[in-house]
C-alpha cells in the first residue's frame, strides 16, 4: 500500500485528505508544517508528499528545496489555494502543482499517475 504524507497547517484539510485518500486505499500520515515534515520524513518514508505552500514555521517552498536535498527520491505535489506561486522557480521542482479544491478528483488523478510512474521505474 502506497504511503502519502500530507503536510498542511489547516486541520480540516488534513482530516478531509486523510479520510478521502484512505478510502482510495492509501496509507496516510500527517504533518502540520514543513519543519515537522522534514523531521518525520525519514522515519515515515512516504512514497509521495502533498505539500501546502502557506504554512507557519516553514513554508512549502522552502520545505521543497530541503526535501530535494535530503530525499530526491520522494515526489512532491504542491497543493495550494493560490495559482500565483506557479511562477516561482522553486515550485518547478515539484512533480505537480494542484490548486486546492473541495473536489479532490484532480489531486487523486495526479497521485495515481505519480505513484504508478514511480512503481514502474526501477
Amino acid at each position: 500500500m502506497a504511503k502519502i504524507l500530507v503536510v498542511d497547517d489547516e486541520e480540516h484539510i488534513r482530516l478531509l485528505y486523510k479520510q478521502e485518500l484512505t478510502e482510495e486505499g492509501y496509507e496516510v500520515t500527517l504533518a502540520t508544517n514543513g519543519k515537522e515534515c522534514l523531521e518525520i520524513i525519514d522515519a515515515e518514508n512516504p512514497d509521495l508528499i502533498i505539500l501546502d505552500i502557506r504554512m507557519p514555521v516553514m513554508d512549502g517552498i522552502e520545505t521543497l528545496g530541503r526535501i530535494i536535498n535530503k530525499r530526491k527520491d520522494i515526489p512532491v505535489i504542491l497543493n495550494t489555494a493560490y495559482s500565483s506561486y506557479k511562477d516561482d522557480f522553486m515550485t518547478w521542482a515539484a512533480e505537480a502543482y494542484v490548486v486546492k479544491s473541495y473536489d479532490l478528483s484532480e489531486l487523486k488523478i495526479k497521485i495515481q499517475e505519480i505513484i504508478s510512474r514511480k512503481k514502474g521505474s526501477p
Binding site: N69, K72, M90
Partner: protein, 402 residues
C-alpha cells in the same frame, strides 16, 4: 532585455598552491597589479553588463576585500551592482557540490531579478571578450544555451570539455575531458574546447538546474547540464575569435607553470593579451603608491646601477642599484644593491636585500629575501624550504622568513 552575470568564484585552485593557500583562485594576483577575477569583471563592465553577482565560498576574505575596495564602481541607484554572495546554505547545508549547484543554490536571487538571460562566467580565466557579441549571436541563433569555444590542439583534449558542432554552429555532441576527442570538421588536429562560460535563457536553465538537483549527478555545467540540454534544447557554439577583444587569448591558469607562462606572456613587445588597450580598460583595486624609482646605489658603499630590462614594474617599486630582468614586479617591491632578479614574479612589498639573487621564482607578498641569499640556483636546497614545481619554479609563500 535584462541580463545578469553570475561569476563563479568558488574554485579552490589546488594546483596553484601555495598561491591559493590563503586565497581563492580568482583572488590570485596576476599581471603585477591585477587579481585574476579582474578580467571577467572588466569584460562585464566594458560589455555593458552591469548587474553582476560573484558567487564565493572557500577562502573568500581577500576576494571580498578586493571587490569591496576595487569594484565599488557601479551606481546602485541605476540598477547596476556587483554583489558578492557567499555560499549561504539557503537551500541546503553544504558547500557547493559543483558549478551547477552553485547557481541552483542561488535560485532565489535569480527569482528576484527575473532576467531574460543569465551569463555564467568563471572567475579564474584570463581573456578579453565582448559579451555583447556573444549575446547577439545567442539571440540570432534563437538558442537556449550558447557556449563560447576556442580551437585547441587535439592533444589537449583531456583538459577541456570538447564540443562537436555542425556547420551552423549547433552543438551536437559534448564530452568532458575525452581521451579520443571529436575533431573539428576538416581539421583533424584541432578540437573545439568549451571555455567553461555560458549564456542561458533563464527559464530553460532553471528547469534543467532543478532537474539536475533531483539527480545524483556531479551537479556540473559541463558534465551534466550541457549534455542533457543538447538532447532537448537549442545549444550553440560561439567561436571565441568572433567575440575576442584584440587577438584571441584565453588562459585558465590552473597550474603554477601555466600561471607563470601567462604572466610572462605579458612581457612580449606586442603581447596577444594587451593590457595597454585603452578601449578595453582592465580595472582593479590599487592603493596609492609613489612613482617607480630606479637609481644608483649609494656611492659610498660601492657603485652599482639600478636597472630594469624587459620587465613590468608597478608603482611604488624601488630598484636601488639592483638588476631586474624578464620579471614582473607588483607594487612596492624593493630591490637593493647588487641584487639580481631574473625571470621571476615578485608580488607586493617583496624585499630583495643586498646581493641576493633570484631566478625562476614566484615570491608572494611581503617576503623578505635576506642578504646574499640565492633562490632558483640549487633546486634541491630550495625544495627543503619552499615549493618547487616539476618544471623547476620556486614558489615562496606569504609570511615565510628566509
Amino acid at each position: 532585455m535584462k541580463i545578469i552575470a553570475m561569476i563563479l568564484a568558488g574554485g579552490k585552485g589546488e594546483r596553484l598552491y601555495p598561491l591559493t593557500r590563503d586565497r581563492a583562485k580568482p583572488a590570485v594576483p596576476f599581471g603585477a597589479i591585477y587579481r585574476i577575477i579582474d578580467f571577467s569583471l572588466s569584460n562585464c563592465v566594458n560589455s555593458g553588463i552591469r548587474r553582476i553577482y560573484v558567487l564565493t565560498q572557500y577562502k573568500s576574505l581577500s576576494l571580498n576585500r578586493h571587490i569591496q575596495l576595487g569594484w565599488n564602481i557601479l551606481p546602485n541607484k541605476l540598477g547596476e551592482f556587483i554583489n558578492v554572495i557567499s555560499a549561504q546554505q539557503r537551500i541546503d547545508e553544504h558547500w557547493y557540490r559543483g558549478t551547477a549547484d552553485a547557481v541552483f543554490q542561488n535560485i532565489y536571487t535569480l527569482e528576484q531579478e527575473r532576467p531574460d538571460l543569465v551569463l555564467i562566467l568563471a572567475g579564474d580565466h584570463v581573456y578579453k571578450m565582448d559579451y555583447r557579441k556573444l549575446i547577439q549571436f545567442h539571440l540570432e541563433k534563437k538558442a537556449d544555451l550558447t557556449i563560447p569555444v576556442i580551437e585547441m590542439e587535439k592533444g589537449s583534449s583531456k583538459e577541456f570539455g570538447v564540443v562537436e558542432a555542425d556547420a551552423d554552429c549547433r552543438i551536437i555532441g559534448f564530452t568532458e575531458k575525452p581521451v579520443k576527442p571529436k575533431t573539428v570538421l576538416g581539421k583533424p588536429e584541432s578540437i573545439l574546447a568549451s571555455m567553461g562560460i555560458y549564456v542561458f535563457n533563464t527559464q530553460p536553465m532553471v528547469r534543467r538546474l532543478i532537474e539536475d538537483a533531483k539527480t545524483d549527478s556531479q551537479h556540473d555545467f559541463g558534465m551534466n547540464i550541457v549534455p542533457s540540454m543538447i538532447r532537448s534544447d537549442r545549444v550553440f557554439a560561439f567561436p571565441f575569435e568572433e567575440g575576442s577583444r584584440g587577438k584571441p587569448y584565453w588562459k585558465d591558469v590552473g597550474t603554477i607553470d601555466a600561471y607563470f607562462a601567462a604572466n610572462m606572456d605579458l612581457l612580449a613587445p606586442e603581447p596577444a593579451f594587451d593590457l595597454f588597450d585603452r578601449g578595453w580598460p582592465i580595472y582593479t583595486h590599487e592603493e596609492s603608491h609613489p612613482p617607480v624609482k630606479i637609481i644608483l646605489s649609494d656611492k659610498e658603499v660601492g657603485k652599482s646601477d639600478g636597472i630594469a630590462l624587459n620587465s613590468i614594474i608597478s608603482g611604488g617599486c624601488e630598484i636601488r642599484g639592483g638588476r631586474v630582468e624578464n620579471s614582473l614586479l607588483s607594487p612596492a617591491v624593493r630591490v637593493e644593491m647588487d641584487a639580481k632578479v631574473n625571470n621571476s614574479i615578485l608580488l607586493n612589498e617583496v624585499k630583495v636585500s643586498r646581493g641576493a639573487q633570484i631566478r625562476h621564482a614566484i615570491i608572494d607578498k611581503g617576503v623578505e629575501i635576506s642578504e646574499g641569499m640565492k633562490i632558483g640556483f640549487n633546486l634541491k636546497e630550495d625544495a627543503k624550504k619552499f615549493t618547487v614545481t616539476e618544471s623547476g619554479f620556486v614558489v615562496i609563500p606569504r609570511w615565510i622568513r628566509t
